[in-house]
């Protein structure tokens, strides 16, 4: 599970070579909206060369290819589908598009004898996609879903607002589907990179509806996104105590036990375990200063 996915413009060497340093849990190298039509070829070749140069990066790597309604997507896939990446982010995704993509991925993977099975993250950014959310989540290889609120509100002919009422429904629907299929629910990017308070509020809204991650369009948004979507220190402390008590109960042969007057059973222990795993993965375990 991730907390953040950072968009990196595919035609920008300075950003690419620092992609592993910004601290995002995952990067989405963008061949679509961040690249002008005249530079699609340059971006594709640069990203291919970049992928060939890296070795065990600390973050997951996704590529946003051009949509299946363009003439670029096939060349995109030929260039980037390698063992170096974790998945493809598919714009304007509908079920039929994902199914087509699955066929293409399978073909490239077998032709090039790849070790990896490349995942897919569909972007929900049209009215039709919203109606297909559960079907999308159920498809093979889906690792998460990304909400694209700008294009979605355009499709819906709604105005984007800071309060985000117009996207509450797709946010919530996506959250439920992703939770049911145990995949990442990634919130739409917050477009005002100078408004940190607005970013915090937007993250909290998404979190309150059940999403577990947010896309970032600038590295400086990552600290705030991680603050909101990481388990808090209190939560981690609680999880530690639960697991400690669980071990004690286990040693004593007890199945169910209580902590702070509350009954602790298997689902709660699982939740605590997940929190500790996140804490370890994101290096959140508090280090004592000397």
């Amino acid at each position: 599970m991730v907390r953040s996915m950072l968009f990196i413009p595919g035609n920008n060497p300075a950003m690419l070579q620092n992609a592993d340093v910004f601290g995002a849990d995952a990067v989405i190298i963008d061949l679509e909206d961040a690249v002008s039509i005249q530079e699609k070829d340059a971006a594709r070749i640069l990203v291919k060369a970049y992928l060939e140069s890296i070795d065990h990066p600390p973050m997951k790597i996704y590529i946003r290819i051009n949509g299946l309604d363009t003439t670029d997507y096939e060349k995109d896939l030929q260039s980037v589908v390698t063992d170096q990446i974790d998945g493809i982010v598919l714009p304007k995704a509908k079920v039929c598009d994902v199914e087509r993509l699955l066929t293409l991925l399978y073909k490239i993977e077998s032709e090039t004898h790849m070790q990896k099975i490349i995942g897919i993250i569909p972007i929900v950014e049209s009215a039709k996609s919203v109606l297909e959310i559960e079907k999308l989540a159920a498809l093979s290889r889906i690792q998460g879903m990304l909400l694209g609120a700008e294009d979605l509100s355009a499709d819906m002919e709604l105005t984007r607002t800071i309060t985000g009422t117009e996207i509450e429904y797709p946010r919530a629907r996506m959250a439920f589907a992703c939770k049911a299929y145990k995949i990442d629910a990634i919130d739409t990017p917050f477009t005002d990179t100078s408004d940190n308070l607005g970013l915090i509020a937007d993250c909290q809204k998404a979190q309150n509806l059940g999403l577990n991650a947010k896309a970032a369009i600038h590295p400086n948004q990552l600290e705030t996104i991680h603050d909101v979507f990481s388990p808090s220190l209190q939560r981690i402390e609680w999880a530690k105590r639960v697991l400690k008590a669980a071990k004690k109960a286990d040693d004593q042969g007890l199945g169910v036990f209580s902590l702070d007057g509350k009954m602790i059973d298997k689902p709660i222990i699982e939740r605590a375990t997940k929190i500790m795993e996140s804490a370890k993965r994101y290096r959140l375990l508090p280090v004592e200063n000397a």
Binding site: P13, A14, D41, A42, I45, L46, A49
Partner: protein, 86 residues
């Protein structure tokens, strides 16, 4: 003469211009000339060799691009040049 150009003059990028020629000529102007001139020329030569291209004039204006960026920009410039030449 139909040229191919790729890349920008932004930091860590290289702008590469290629034109068909009678023989191989490589010209490099880099902000880190004293330190990476030979390496940049080598990357250009190796890329041309791998692409089986010999008769080409390459002009590289480098702003501190890493090897793979130079290779990518050169390949793009060549591809654009070839597209123009039909």
């Amino acid at each position: 003469m139909l040229t191919g150009i790729a890349g920008t003059l932004e930091s860590n990028d290289a702008m590469i211009t290629v034109t068909p020629a009678d023989k191989l000529t490589i010209e490099v102007k880099s902000v880190v000339d004293a330190f990476y001139h030979d390496q940049i020329v080598k990357v250009i030569k190796d890329t041309l060799f791998d692409s089986k291209i010999a008769n080409i004039s390459v002009m590289c204006q480098d702003k501190g691009a890493l090897d793979y960026t130079i290779r990518a920009r050169l390949l793009t410039a060549i591809s654009r040049m070839e597209e123009q030449n039909g």
